[in-house]
């Protein structure tokens, strides 16, 4: 398995990295971590920059060298004093509910559907086409960038708790240029913050499918 030493600095991981997009500083990117490690840094020396990562997993899919960047970041976190502030447990996987035919009928063109980024990236090969078809069928917009990676909200992440990730900036970017009347979220953790920040109706997926939240 390729490791940090195989990073040759193509910068592709920066393109969908929410942390880099906010900071515009290569130190705050998987490439920056890998390059620092190539020059002798360990997790403890990168604590400040590591704390800003929301671990959405988009970088893993973009790395042409196939480096397990999330694994690399986790290893570095173990070495840092952030290790005891471990990252979130994997949240419930809402994918099955997104396959409910009722969702196709309920989604509207002026909806913004927010895919749970972590689960999406973890299973990208199997799920990306499903969401693309859902988007085409309903005309709704989704939190997908040009790379077809999910733009993560960052809400509920360790970085947000440490106040090293600017949620407001991220939500502003999510909404920029979109004519959205409703927001549909997969991860309930996104709901309260989005309601407070956007003033739009923010519904959980289960409210459209008629399922109970525990159904997933």
């Amino acid at each position: 398995m390729p490791s940090f030493s195989d990073c040759y600095g193509c910068s592709l991981c920066l393109l969908s990295c929410p942390m880099w997009l906010q900071r515009r500083d290569v130190r705050f990117s998987p490439q920056g971590y890998a390059k620092a490690m190539q020059h002798g840094a360990d997790g403890s020396e990168m604590a400040e920059t590591l704390s800003a990562c929301i671990q959405c997993g988009a970088c893993d899919l973009l790395c042409p060298a196939g480096i397990d960047l999330t694994g690399m970041i986790n290893t570095a976190l173990q070495q840092s004093d952030l290790a005891n502030k471990q990252h979130d447990q994997p949240s419930t996987d809402w994918f099955a509910m997104s396959c409910d035919p009722a969702l196709r009928h309920a989604l509207r063109e002026d909806d913004l559907y927010i895919i749970d980024a972590v689960a999406f990236h973890r299973h990208h090969a199997r799920r990306a086409l499903h969401y693309e078809k859902l988007r085409q069928a309903t005309g709704c917009s989704m939190n997908l960038d040009l790379n077809r990676m999910a733009v993560a909200t960052g809400i509920g992440s360790m970085a947000a708790r440490l106040q090293s990730f600017d949620l407001r900036k991220q939500v502003e970017w999510l909404l920029q240029g979109r004519n959205v009347q409703r927001i549909i979220v997969e991860n309930p953790a996104d709901q309260a913050v989005l309601i407070a920040m956007t003033g739009k109706p923010v519904l959980h997926l289960s409210e459209l499918t008629g399922s109970s939240a525990g159904h997933a």
Partner: protein, 540 residues
């Protein structure tokens, strides 16, 4: 030692040292180095396989650091920070800056440049770092990382213009524009190229035959000069500076903001035609461009006997007109017919079956990446730059992005492609050629003078990139550099040029452009940059 050498060396304060070295070499006659035919101001006595500049030794560095720090400029000197920038996409040149500054404002850069002039500290500017000859590698001094200035400042939907900070990657510019249903005109098929870096060197796309290179599209720029002035320039405002900055290899200023034209976003209707040899394919490309029948054209080879001509359109109407009027004139085949012809050809040449297997494998690996499901809808491709760029990095990228190139006028193009192809064949079992036309703007001819656009090209210039495929084989740096040099040698012999991101090696500048042009620009450089500190050793 030539007259030119003695004229140049005092500028660097190296006269005594180098004369001494030459004398020792001449006296002992023991040098094993080959005769050095490169430019007079290249590194004397060093073969072209080793063209990295010498490292700046750090004179006055502590004083400089104290001075800029007092002005509130953050200068990072830790190895973990400077090491990020140790090489470029080419991966053949390695160097460490003394310190790194992440660009934040034009004012900050202006203060940095004033201090750099005062203390004679070299400043190397880096955007995406996609140079191939070490142009964005700092061999000491300051590395200025422009990606810190990468915000889109204003999108004018009515005038179809965007004002952006120049450190932005084209990919992020596209991300922002797409929210308004817009797109840039053309940009390199590499997502992590920066706008500023591209405007300084060219930038080609499969629609460059229609729109010209990216650099030719800039409407206006904000520039920080080597002496630290912040200047707005365009064809009508400070036009002389504009001329020098566009395609100027970063010698005359740092682009901090750019105004660019944009257009309504459209997906692509793509068609591929297949050829069994290079010449008819190149000739058809030239014919297509002059017919103005296509919105996108380019050649991509898989091997010498399997060459692809790509054509694409922004609208159904353009596509229909092409299919009715121009397609019958093409000598290429569709995929099925070409496959049958190739199979027939291979069937009675068993010694070529390995090539056939390679082609089949290549088709299986590459084609899905050129038409990925996530980017295709109703036969149209969405976000072509994402598709092509990811394919480039996956299939041709590696620790060494070795992509030498040639740029010629229409008449020389077939010969340039065929000769470059022969060089590829000599060095690598597998390689790809990527060819496109570049529409020229007569009113911008002054911009082209120092650039990779050949002086004898009118209407269009044509570029061909020669891209080895490593297939897991490790090639030495010497092999890769020698390959590049041999391609450049073809350019010198054909009296033509090279294009792409910084593909102009210092050692070739005088051979490619001639003394008169280089002397003229050197004098301009000395006036603009008295301490000769901005992006030194790239050209001068």
């Amino acid at each position: 030692m030539s007259v030119l050498q003695t004229e140049f060396l005092p500028l660097r304060g190296l006269l005594v040292t180098v004369e001494h070295e030459l004398n020792v070499s001449e006296i002992t006659g023991q040098s094993s180095l080959p005769a050095d035919p490169v430019a007079a101001d290249a590194l004397i006595g060093i073969p072209r396989q080793q063209t990295n500049p010498s490292r700046w030794q750090g004179e006055q560095w502590p004083e400089f650091v104290r001075f800029v720090t007092e002005q509130g400029i953050e200068l990072r000197e830790q190895r973990v920070d400077t090491g990020v920038y140790v090489t470029d996409a080419g991966g053949l040149a390695y160097g460490m800056p003394h310190g790194v500054v992440v660009a934040r404002t034009a004012g900050q850069i202006a203060a940095l440049m004033k201090a750099a002039q005062q203390f004679a500290v070299p400043v190397t500017v880096r955007g995406g770092g996609l140079t191939t000859e070490g142009e964005s590698v700092a061999f000491g001094g300051v590395l200025l990382d422009m990606t810190g200035m990468s915000a889109v400042l204003h999108v004018d939907k009515q005038a179809l213009r965007v004002r952006t900070q120049a450190g932005i990657f084209w990919h992020h510019l596209a991300e922002v524009l797409r929210r308004d249903g817009l797109d840039y005109l053309s940009a390199p098929l590499n997502l992590s190229s920066s706008v500023g870096g591209t405007l300084g060197v060219g930038g080609i796309d499969v629609n460059s035959a229609k729109f010209g290179c990216s650099a030719d599209q800039a409407i206006a720029l904000q520039v920080v000069t080597p002496t630290g002035e912040i200047v707005e320039c365009s064809d009508v405002e400070n036009s002389e500076l504009f001329e020098r900055i566009i395609l100027g290899y970063g010698q005359f200023g740092i682009i901090t903001e750019a105004t660019l034209p944009v257009r309504l976003y459209t997906p692509l209707r793509m068609h591929y035609f297949y050829y069994g040899s290079l010449k008819p394919c190149v000739e058809d490309l030239l014919m297509l461009d002059s017919s103005h029948a296509c919105d996108y054209t380019g050649i991509l080879t898989m091997m010498d006997t399997a060459i692809t001509l790509l054509v694409a359109f922004d609208s159904d109407a353009r596509e229909a007109a092409f299919l009715a009027q121009v397609k019958p004139k093409l000598r290429g085949y569709g995929e099925l017919m070409f496959g049958l012809r190739l199979a027939l050809s291979f069937s009675w040449r068993p010694w070529q079956w390995q090539e056939a297997l390679f082609l089949l494998r290549r088709k299986r690996e590459l084609f899905p990446d050129l038409q990925p499901d996530l980017h295709m809808q109703d036969g149209k491709m969405f976000d072509r730059t994402v598709v092509f760029s990811r394919a480039v990095w996956k299939h041709w990228g590696d620790r060494h992005m070795v992509i030498p190139d040639l740029a010629t006028n229409r008449d020389k193009f077939v010969e340039a492609v065929e000769r470059g192809n022969a060089v590829c064949r000599k060095y690598f079992p597998c390689y790809t050629l990527y060819c496109v036309g570049i529409r020229l703007r007569e009113e911008h001819r002054a911009h082209y003078e120092l650039s990779s656009i050949p002086a004898d090209a009118t209407g269009w210039a044509y570029g061909c990139e020669f891209e080895p495929m490593y297939n897991g084989v490790e090639y030495s740096r010497d092999t890769l550099q020698s390959f590049k040099n041999e391609i450049y040698d073809v350019g010198v012999e054909l009296e033509t040029s090279y294009y792409r991101f910084g593909g102009m090696m210092k050692g070739y500048i005088r051979r490619a452009l001639g003394d008169a042009v280089v002397e003229k620009h050197l004098k301009l450089k000395q006036q603009a940059d008295p301490a000769m500190i901005l992006n030194r050793d790239v050209i001068f």
